[in-house]
Amino acid sequence: MGETESVEGRPLDEQELVEQARGGDARAYAVLVRRYQDLAFRTAFVIAGGSADAEDAAQEGFVKAWYALPRFRAGSPFRPWLLAIVANEARNRRRSGRRRDDLALRVAEDRPSGDAAPSPEAAALAGEQRKLLLDAVGRLGENDRQVIACRYFLELSEAEMAAALGCRPGTVKSRLSRALDRLRAAMAEPGPLAAAPDARQGGDR
């Protein structure tokens, strides 16, 4: 994702780019946007549930982050900070009450199976089984679905997950663990899963 992009021909690391952007350098900021747009868009997609909302949220998030840069703590990690802003935009759009295709991701049909020696569990999960699993994830409550998607589909760090989900970093692990429990139950008993995850997870604050 653009790790080799540079300003003035010189590769810049994230901190340098952030510093330049803080100083008002829109070109440096554009490099950051390109670098993180996949991450931002996909995170927004997981939370908002639709690509139009995700695009809106990611774009709005980047614009707001630009104006918020003067308040960014120098030296702290940029990704969680950005994700917090983008995810909030996505949540705001999700709250709009519009119907959406939750986690309407597709499983690639013909993924070249060049991976050598997958784990036995993973190997067993070809095609149909991947769909079943995705289906089960889709039947989870919103919070469970999001924490699983953030961890496994977006491969976010704990700090990034906390930022994206709007919870304290200390609660991420237990949230994920509960979500996996419910996913396991959903896999065991196909069909509608008991709802009300929001109420259950209200203790995160």
Partner: protein, 278 residues
């Protein structure tokens, strides 16, 4: 971690490798274009605001800021109002022309209590009233009703919509009952833009909005069941929003400004406050 858990996690990792996300749009171009819309560097906000914005770490300051924070979020949803149970209303969004209101639909989402759901940057910058006035080109109006005093918090977003938007938050106080969800007593939003004729028609047909006059100019008083509303954004896309804030809503015009006032207020009181704005 149990064997079974490793198995499930392995399966999720396997699934992740086979997942296809929708293609990422080119955000850099769109974002860069929008950075030019507003003045360069945003001045630093007052320090309580900075504290409030750190929403992940902001739990300590939360109680004090709860009122404003919740309001922030509700507005951040880019919209406006609808209400629980008996009354309430709707309005519009971000200075974009065109709003429609529809009755019904699913109940509004519950206001979340997670920290991430509350304080965030969506409303704009938390600034002083003077700062807000410096940052938008139009005159920011403030109610002069006796006893109301100055707003407890002021937010400005000069980038969205075009022309900017200012929000005034008043905490509940004698004469300003709190909403059932927050201790916000009054929320006033100002932006440039006008409801479309389409909007007016819908409102009239449904009969849930009353046409009123505010200082000689047209206004609308919303009360009743939770509403859906639609609006047309800057790109011309029709969008649908639904959110809630307790209380009734008055929307009115003053020149090329559209103003919106929300609170648990009777109509006459809302209009009195609206007319006092200068």
């Amino acid at each position: 971690m149990s064997h079974r858990e490793l198995g499930l996690e392995g399966a999720l990792a396997d699934l992740a490798a086979a997942l296809e996300f929708p293609p990422t749009p080119d955000l850099a171009a769109a974002v860069t274009a929008r950075l030019g819309e507003a003045p360069a560097a945003a001045p630093a906000p007052p320090s309580p605001a900075a504290r409030a914005r750190r929403w992940l770490a902001g739990l300590a300051g939360w109680r004090r800021l709860a009122a404003a924070g919740l309001a922030v979020v509700l507005l951040a949803a880019a919209v406006l109002v609808a209400s629980p149970g008996t009354r309430e209303a709707v309005a519009r969004r971000l200075g974009l022309r065109g709003i429609g209101v529809e009755l019904g639909g699913p109940p509004p989402p519950t206001v979340t209590t997670t920290p991430g759901g509350r304080l965030e940057l969506g409303l704009g910058d938390w600034v002083t009233l003077e700062e807000a006035r410096r940052r938008v080109a139009w005159p920011v109006l403030v109610p002069a009703t006796a006893g109301l005093g100055q707003p407890d918090a002021v937010y400005v977003n000069e980038a969205v919509p075009s022309g900017g938007r200012v929000d005034l938050v008043y905490r509940a106080r004698p004469g300003l009952p709190p909403s059932p969800f927050t201790d916000v007593g009054l929320l006033i939003t100002e932006f440039q833009g006008q409801p479309t004729p389409e909007f007016l028609k819908k409102v009239t047909v449904m009969g849930v909005v009353e046409q009123v006059t505010v200082g000689g100019e047209p206004g609308y008083w919303f009360s009743g069941e939770p509403h859906f509303f639609t609006y047309r954004d800057a790109a011309g896309t029709l969008r649908e929003e639904q959110t809630r804030l307790a209380g009734n809503t008055l929307i009115w015009q003053r020149g090329d400004l559209t103003l919106r006032l929300e609170g648990e207020l009777p109509k006459e009181e809302a209009i009195r406050i609206a007319e006092s704005m200068r």
